[in-house]
């Protein structure tokens, strides 16, 4: 079940995304430790022997301070499952003192007490606290076949708890390429409305053929021709960085892969042009994916 994502060498002629400015900083707080082991997980997170180590609270705080001085616009906590780390609430409080903050979660650990703590944190900050809760299909049977038993009910319960407290989460779903375009969005929105969710918010992401969703076969790379005429300036890695075990990486999808690491220490050292070397860079450019909330 592990199937850690595979790194590839950086080709000498790999095109580069010019770095513009730091807008988003992500923290892979729990590494790839998760309480689920979703079949399509691009970084193969799971409960057993995670391949990527967690960050310490001290590391997160050091990068938060550096990011604030650099004028960062948004902060994100991802994983793995960030709520597996008890320090998450304190770190979210620190992050919210700097910038709007988002936590990506499967929702299973958001009980009433956790939702209350999040609501208190949100109310105490000038900036928005966003929760992104993952659901991948509009029925328990279809969703749990991908995400694991109980994932649908747990996520929906968390969504309702958050919505009831004015935290109106964004439901994030990975689309299946076999599905009719637009159908997953409509179906999930209908599920939320039927479930009494007052502000149905749905974000659809493409399936990335990495980690557990990797397929065999040719894996094309981007060339200079693909990203001509400033095209690369619109890619997320031109304005986003990820802190994960080992340093600062180009993007949340490649976090932890040695060749995606741009600096071992200071964030400032990672604000450089990014080689678009990995096969997943093709999907990022072709789909126009943004890992941001909107």
């Amino acid at each position: 079940m592990r199937a850690a994502p595979v790194d590839v060498p950086v080709a000498a002629d790999a095109p580069r995304a010019a770095f513009r400015e730091l807008r988003e900083l992500w923290f892979q707080l729990p590494g790839t430790r998760c309480n689920l082991a979703c079949r399509h997980c691009f970084n193969a997170s799971g409960p057993h022997a995670p391949w990527l180590a967690p960050l310490t609270a001290a590391e997160v705080r050091r990068y938060l301070a550096e990011a604030e001085a650099l004028g960062v616009k948004e902060l994100y906590f991802t994983g793995g499952e960030p709520f597996l780390r008890p320090e998450l609430f304190a770190l979210v409080a620190d992050a919210l003192a700097v910038a709007p903050t988002t936590v990506l979660t499967n929702g299973l650990l958001i009980d009433d007490a956790a939702a209350d703590r999040l609501a208190t944190l949100a109310a105490g900050s000038l900036y928005s606290l966003e929760l992104r809760v993952s659901l991948d299909a509009p029925t328990a049977a279809a969703n749990d076949a991908v995400r694991g038993r109980g994932a649908f009910a747990g996520a929906l319960a968390a969504i309702r708890r958050l919505d009831a407290r004015g935290l109106h989460p964004i439901v994030t779903a990975v689309d299946d390429p076999e599905r009719a375009p637009g159908s997953l969005y409509a179906a999930l929105r209908a599920v939320l409305v039927a479930g009494g969710v007052t502000r149905p918010r749905v974000k659809i992401l493409p399936l990335l053929r990495m980690g557990r969703a990797a397929t065999r076969g040719p894996s094309p790379r981007l060339t200079a021709v693909d990203v001509a005429d400033g095209d690369a300036a619109t890619l997320p890695c031109s304005a986003s960085r990820v802190v994960a075990a080992g340093g600062v990486y180009a993007c949340p999808i490649l976090a932890g892969l040695p060749n995606a690491r741009l600096a071992a220490g200071a964030l400032a050292a990672a604000l450089v042009d990014t080689p678009l070397y990995h096969p997943v860079c093709v999907a990022c450019r072709e789909t126009g994916i943004t890992c941001r909330n909107a």
Binding site: A99, L126, Y127, L167, H168, Y185, R189, T290, A294
Partner: protein
């Protein structure tokens, strides 16, 4: 000076706002862009702006309509928002004269002025990106300080989100999102808001609420075949679409 945010073809609100600014003795009026979109008869706002000598900044809508681009450049990814954005944009392009499109294409991306001893920079979304959303709850103070540094200004004025806010920065500088005059404030009332800046000698911000004939505008929108959701927003004051980009704090204050 008076600062007007997105007009969105709301010619009736524009008339009311210009009249209000005149009564208040405003010396100069600036519009921060997005003249069309959402509302009916987009050509009607141009003579009003020209006759009142309003200096305009180019918004993302103006870039798209002016250059004949494929979409409004609002940058939505949500399918529902994109549907409404497409309807609105196609209607606006179809109903904007070639002369007005050329005028939009020639607008500046930013305007600089001085107010007392203060440098003021006016942009549409942000000075670094025409369609960047600077919402109150997603714009860190550190970012605003940096934008003021990089773009060498003491006062930064923007629009694009449609919701007004201001923030005094620790450095003594000021950021203000002037809101929009083309759409209500997502507060359950049809009124719109514009902004007056004064320097006496410190810069002060006043948000001014203006009522106008929203019912007539809503009927014009319906007669033009624009989506009923648009007219509902104009009548009720609650936003019904283009909600994807709105952060949770602002979203929680609305109805939808």
């Amino acid at each position: 000076v008076a600062l007007l945010g997105g007009v969105y073809a709301n010619h009736l609100a524009l008339e009311a706002v210009l009249a209000d600014a005149r009564v208040r003795g405003v010396e100069r009026v600036y519009c921060l862009g997005d003249l069309g979109g959402f509302g009916p008869h987009p050509d009607r706002v141009f003579p009003l702006l020209r006759d009142a000598g309003v200096a305009c900044v180019q918004g993302n809508y103006d870039v798209s309509v002016g250059r004949g681009l494929a979409d409004c450049g609002c940058g939505y990814t949500d399918p529902r928002d994109n549907h409404f954005a497409r309807v609105s944009y196609q209607y606006t392009v179809r109903n904007t004269s070639a002369a007005n499109r050329r005028w939009l294409a020639a607008l500046p991306a930013a305007l600089r002025l001085t107010l007392g001893d203060h440098r003021v920079l006016l942009a549409h979304g942000s000075p670094r990106q025409v369609n960047e959303f600077l919402w109150e709850s997603t714009t860190p103070t550190g970012l605003l300080e940096r934008l003021c540094d990089v773009h060498e200004t003491d006062v930064l004025g923007v629009t694009h989100t449609g919701l007004k806010w201001q923030r005094a920065l620790p450095s003594g500088r000021l950021a203000v999102n002037v809101g929009a005059i083309g759409r209500p404030e997502n507060d359950g009332t049809p009124a719109v808001w514009y902004t007056i800046l004064t320097a006496d000698p410190e810069v002060a911000v006043e948000f001014v609420r203006v009522e106008y004939d929203a019912e007539t505008l809503a009927r014009e929108m319906e007669a033009e075949g624009l989506p009923p959701e648009f007219a509902e927003t104009i009548r009720t004051g609650w936003w019904t679409c283009c909600l994807e980009a709105m952060p949770v704090k602002e979203r929680a204050r609305g109805r939808h």
